[in-house]
């Protein structure tokens, strides 16, 4: 366990507060890239996903898109965009790559959330005289929230991991220490920075797990817990994401 002692010594060394990239700044960069990219992706993907979920149109395209996106190597996408947009604009290029990687999960979460809703609930909304707009905002959006949060959670974790790799193009963030550590063969530095990245990912995962628990509308949570497998797809998927 000596390696861990050295890694912690690296993390808590006073040198981490000085130098070209102080550790707190790297953590901040990492978080800023992650939340910034996920926010931009959310602005694009959530309305689109809701539109697909509400109308039921374009689902096949969305499914194919998220399947293809999984095959897209994130490192390749980052270096490709950085070269295409020019190294001067590497920050913008990397953010574009992160946004592209975050969109499929959020899109899937948004439309899957709507799809998972029992059709009779939506029909009941129409039957009591709700307009389409009301059906969307008062029925579909609240009931679809748990899966949407699940999508945001996957997207965030994907981006946290990709930001780490993107340090290869000189973007900063926690990956900087890992990649530099590999070059200078300093294992305490590699492990120390890795431990922070892992802790960051786990903390964000936990945060979204909590959020997911809070956004379940009252009255739905109880029923979902009592008969989790009945409507198969939806509640189980939410539960799955919550435990994963």
């Amino acid at each position: 366990m000596n390696v861990f002692a050295e890694a912690f010594a690296w993390i808590f060394s006073p040198d981490r507060l000085t130098g070209s990239l102080p550790l707190p700044l790297a953590v901040w960069q990492h978080l800023a890239f992650t939340f910034g990219s996920v926010a931009i992706a959310a602005v694009i993907a959530i309305p689109l996903g809701w539109l697909i979920g509400h109308t039921g149109r374009g689902r096949e395209i969305a499914v194919a898109l998220s399947g293809a996106a999984r095959a897209l190597p994130s490192l390749g996408l980052v270096v490709l965009l950085v070269l295409l947009l020019g190294v001067v604009h590497k920050t913008e290029a990397a953010v574009v790559a992160f946004v592209l990687l975050a969109i499929p999960s959020i899109l899937a979460g948004a439309y899957a959330g709507f799809e998972a809703i029992d059709r009779t609930v939506i029909d009941a909304g129409r039957a009591v005289g709700m307009t389409e707009w009301q059906v969307l905002w008062k029925v579909e959006v609240p009931l679809g929230l748990p899966l949407l949060i699940g999508g945001l959670r996957s997207a965030t974790l994907q981006v946290v991991a990709t930001v780490t790799i993107a340090a290869y193009v000189g973007l900063g963030g926690l990956g900087f220490f890992i990649i530099q550590g590999i070059q200078i063969r300093s294992f305490p530095q590699i492990l120390g920075a890795s431990l922070i990245v892992v802790a960051l990912a786990l903390a964000l995962d936990g945060l979204f797990a909590l959020l997911q628990r809070f956004v379940v509308p009252r009255g739905v949570a109880g029923r979902g817990a009592r008969r989790p497998r009945e409507r198969s797809g939806a509640p189980t998927a939410a539960a799955a994401a919550a435990t994963s």
């Binding site: 190597p73 490192l75 390749g76 270096v79 070269l83 899937a108 979460g109 991991a161 193009v169 435990t243």
Partner: protein, 229 residues
């Protein structure tokens, strides 16, 4: 395009490395996930902790996992490290599929097998596992695609595969080289995916084709669960 035609030999040899580095984890992940997923399905007390742990493994960023494995004794700059890490991610995806798959088997079918005298071992191999097939296949397709794409990160720990085209292309500022790498990875993932679908059709001719099945829902869930890069 000229770059691609001038370097077909390089692309081909990197492709072979890439296939070796991804097929081994895909197979290992599948094989390891079967007993783990079965245990999580069979013993309800285990299910929560096992699936939670496995889910947490999947949230670990790849560069972080390489370092953690190195701390556990695997040489950092080695193909073993890449393969072990990819196997861990494969197990993380597949275990849930195995549990979901076994859960999708109609209990009446299982009871019928017990009634005609199948012991637990034979029942598992001839009834439960084959009937979980469609869900397993969906999980395996997700595992295969993400493993093939993720393997490129191996270049950052000194492993030569299609990811080499990204780092080399970046250093030498050759856009076609990087593009060739991205396209090659996507094409390989697509081919392996098609092969898996084909194998599924042959192994499970009874499998429904067009209707939205449990397996598709499981695939959707796998898509939603976590995300490593």
């Amino acid at each position: 395009m000229t770059w691609v035609f001038d370097n077909l030999d390089l692309i081909w040899s990197l492709t072979l490395d890439h296939l070796r580095q991804s097929v081994i984890p895909i197979v290992l992940g599948f094989v390891i996930a079967i007993p783990v997923g079965w245990a999580a399905w069979r013993y309800t007390t285990l299910r929560g902790p096992v699936l939670t742990t496995i889910g947490l493994l999947y949230t670990i960023p790849s560069l972080g996992l390489f370092a953690l494995l190195a701390a556990a004794g695997v040489p950092l700059i080695s193909e073993t490290n890449l393969i072990v890490a990819l196997t861990i991610y494969g197990v993380a995806i597949m275990t849930r599929s195995v549990t979901d798959g076994l859960e999708s088997v109609d209990p009446a079918t299982r009871d019928a097998a017990i009634a005609v005298g199948y012991g637990p071992w034979r029942r598992f191999w001839t009834v439960d596992l084959p009937l979980s097939g469609p869900v397993l296949l969906a999980g395996l397709r997700v595992t295969a695609t993400s493993t093939i794409s993720l393997a490129t990160v191996g270049v950052l720990i000194g492993q030569s595969n299609l990811g080499y085209l990204f780092t080399n292309g970046f250093q030498r500022r050759i856009v076609p080289e990087i593009l060739a790498g991205v396209v090659a990875v996507v094409v390989i993932a697509l081919i392996v995916d098609l092969l898996l679908v084909l194998a599924g059709r042959i192994a499970m001719p009874w499998m429904p084709r067009r209707t939205q099945t449990r397996s598709e829902r499981s695939a959707a869930r796998a898509r939603l669960a976590g995300g490593v890069a």
